[in-house]
């Protein structure tokens, strides 16, 4: 009721689509710089996936068959690309609000949607960087061999995975303050990766974890990733629908949090 966005008249922004695209491009670039220049964000999101992948697939002898090598790449690609969106929104949004940026942006003559889209695109660029880094290591040291189309499809899954990750991050960031967000998003990130079987094969996990796994978004992303890499069939319908549904739920959960009064979480 008493939030700024509710009391101020919404600035009308009668821009041509061309100007909107320009604004989006600038905003994306700004978001990308913002993410890249924040070491607390860029170092772990880029180094963790590459580091863990190198440990499991190259240092430790888990990639002992072509199938295993490819599966490990898929798992850590999903792990790697799930981070940027989740953190950009989960932590980024929370600290934006704590520092007053969110209020400024909500008041600025730029639709909030453009800001959100730009942040998502910025995270996608980051995810692409993670993909490039992982593919480079996998192709050179990891001994991974995939069909050319499989490489491309896996990269595509990686980039698109930013969408559900961003939606989940939005739900966290809308309701948490910056300090809590850092801790909780990290736990959610690492926890969902382990529970989805990204680090260790699900078959080797206790039955309880096996039954929880399908409730984790990375589980379904990994399924898409394996299909992209030609490791298994099974169809796109079920995992894609699940992810779309999860994205909608997460955005719906986030909405009231975005509108809530400043500073109270």
């Amino acid at each position: 009721m008493n939030s700024l966005t509710d009391t101020l008249p919404r600035p009308t922004f009668q821009a041509s689509s061309r100007r909107l695209v320009r604004a989006l491009a600038f905003e994306t670039l700004a978001e990308w710089r913002n993410l890249a220049r924040m070491p607390a964000f860029s170092v772990p999101t880029l180094l963790f996936p590459v580091g863990f992948y190198s440990m499991f697939a190259i240092v430790l002898p888990f990639a002992n068959t072509p199938e295993a090598a490819a599966t490990l790449l898929v798992n850590f690609t999903i792990f790697g690309v799930f981070g940027p969106g989740l953190f950009a929104f989960g932590v980024g949004l929370a600290s934006d609000r704590d520092q007053g940026w969110l209020r400024l942006k909500q008041a600025a003559p730029l639709p909030v949607m453009v800001m959100m889209l730009a942040r998502t695109l910025g995270a996608m660029v980051f995810a692409l960087a993670v993909v490039v880094a992982l593919f480079t290591v996998a192709a050179t040291l990891g001994g991974v061999r995939l069909e050319r189309s499989a490489w491309a499809l896996l990269a595509l899954v990686g980039v698109l995975a930013v969408i559900p990750a961003s939606a989940l991050g939005l739900a966290f960031g809308a309701w948490l303050n910056a300090r809590a967000a850092m801790a909780i998003v990290n736990i959610a990130y690492l926890g969902s990766a382990v529970l989805s079987g990204l680090w260790f094969p699900l078959q080797m996990m206790p039955a309880s974890v096996q039954s929880i796994a399908p409730a984790m978004p990375p589980y379904h992303l990994a399924e898409l990733g394996r299909q992209a890499a030609g490791l298994e069939g099974g169809g796109l319908v079920y995992p894609v629908l699940w992810l779309v549904f999860a994205t909608i739920i997460a955005v719906a959960v986030a909405m009231p949090g975005l509108r809530r009064p400043e500073g109270k979480s």
């Binding site: 002992n64 061999r145 078959q203 169809g235």
Partner: protein
Amino acid sequence: MKPLFIVAVLCTALVLGWLLLPVPESSGPANVHTGNATTAAPANDFTLRADRVFTGNEWLEPGLVEVREARISRVGNDFEPDPMLPLVELGDRTLLPGLIDAHVHVWGSALVDALNFGVTTVLDQANDAASIATLRHSGMGAQLFSSGPPATAPGGHGTQYGYTPPPVSGPEDAVGFARTIHRLGSHWMKIIIERGMGNWQVPSLDRDSVAALVVAAEEVGLMPVAHVSELEAAHWAMAAGAHGLVHIFADKPVDQPLLELMAAEDRFVIPTLVVLESIAGTAAVDTDDDERVTPWLSGEQRNSLAQRWPGPRNPVLRQRVIANTRAMHEAGIAILAGSDAPNPGTAHGLSLHHELAVLVEAGLSPSAALAAATALPARFFGLNDRGLLEPGRRADLLVVDGNPRKDISATLAIHAIWQGGQPMARIQAAAVTSAEVPAHGRLSAFRPDAAEAGFGFGWAETDDQMAGGNSTVDMQSEGDETLAWIRLHGEIRSGFGWPWAGVMFSPGDTPMAPVDLSAFGTLRFQARGRPAELRILAFSPALGSMPATQTVRIGTDWQAFELDLAGFAGADPAAISGLVFAAGPDLGEFEFDLADVHLD
């Protein structure tokens, strides 16, 4: 323009990078898709020339097969061998694709035993998913593909093996079951329709559940196959759209509608005649004294071969399953060779050779029988990287003396085995080592601060984590000058089909080295603990990895127990490799104390 330029450069770099990414070298159709396949061992390139080569669907006499980097690169009878490669002259021998056993259940040394008899791939038709994952991970022996847990009614056939398949109570459970086994890594779906026979009666899936399971399997991309033992069940499965039967049925002669349906829809059957004739008590093939066989049998193989099904001889059953198989073959239905090892009377590896002989008796030509163990299982189970000698496929190869085209039993005269281009040395059964056992027979010389042994390698904790389980155990020494004991404390957790945890005594100088204990007749010990059953397991090479078990019930007070060594059924007292005192298989925490263990 400048930002656009940067974007353009980055995009170009991405595309160039993409073009540089490595792709699979041979376009072996399902290299990544199917494979726990190619080993990362160094390339092993060579050319083989033999008087007879069976490619899986035709004969080359003589024939040449060239292998490069674990794959077959050329096959024919007219090409010039590459002078840069070693040429192996096999002469009057026969070169075949490595054999595929389309119906087994793997545990223990199954994969190694199978490979030892030229079976380079096995298709497991129902097992615990965790055990399969562990065995596949081991990378030892034959390559393994599995249905994982079977679809069966609650309490039905398939639930008696120590693990619990996800339940299917009705058609409404079909989709959930299919997704679960897909997630667990199943390669196809096995649907069990079985009401039992005679004294053995079990609940079975109903017809609607079978139909729903077939649809659910196809939806998640798994091939549905059916276990049946009755003609009516075969009709259900085939009408529902299952791709094949994993047994031939024995209750009635096959009827014309089933033959026509199966032939028209290109369905298959894995008759498993060796296990059915073992059930009938009428096994026709006997290799007990065959020198091509006996030196190569492991303890597990000898053990399962020697076991017998209960019940009277039933020659009619044998005639009927052979007649049904013959009728299906004559109707043009694909016959796949499978042994159902290690059921009583069968053995991994060896029984597939027996199956080939019975298939020939059932009217298949030797060539058709060989195709039933090579090209056909590969085709129907989607293993497009094996089963045929053709360029691009895995170099899984078997060389036998003589001519199986004339005498199918020649497949037992194994000369050489390659798996993925790697030569496999056959393993001879381990010899029993003898060690000095002191006359006092004391296994324990426990002190309050140490779990000393009277002889041998001695006492050590043991749990099922070595088999992929999650149970835990911790051993402590306790007591005073008058009595010292060891205390075993831990938890039995799910994760392995037959969970255990406890303590093991190894009588030899190294763990599991067999020792002659036949001078003694009785095992005596004292025990107490949380009231529960305590299992005493005797390991012996004669038993393979499955121990003989006796059980006692312990209470909170010390109690003396004595067990007759002869009571460990099947264990050879002249070759005991270990004695285990273990809790389980019931889940939960356990604690027991053990003292004064000795043999009389």
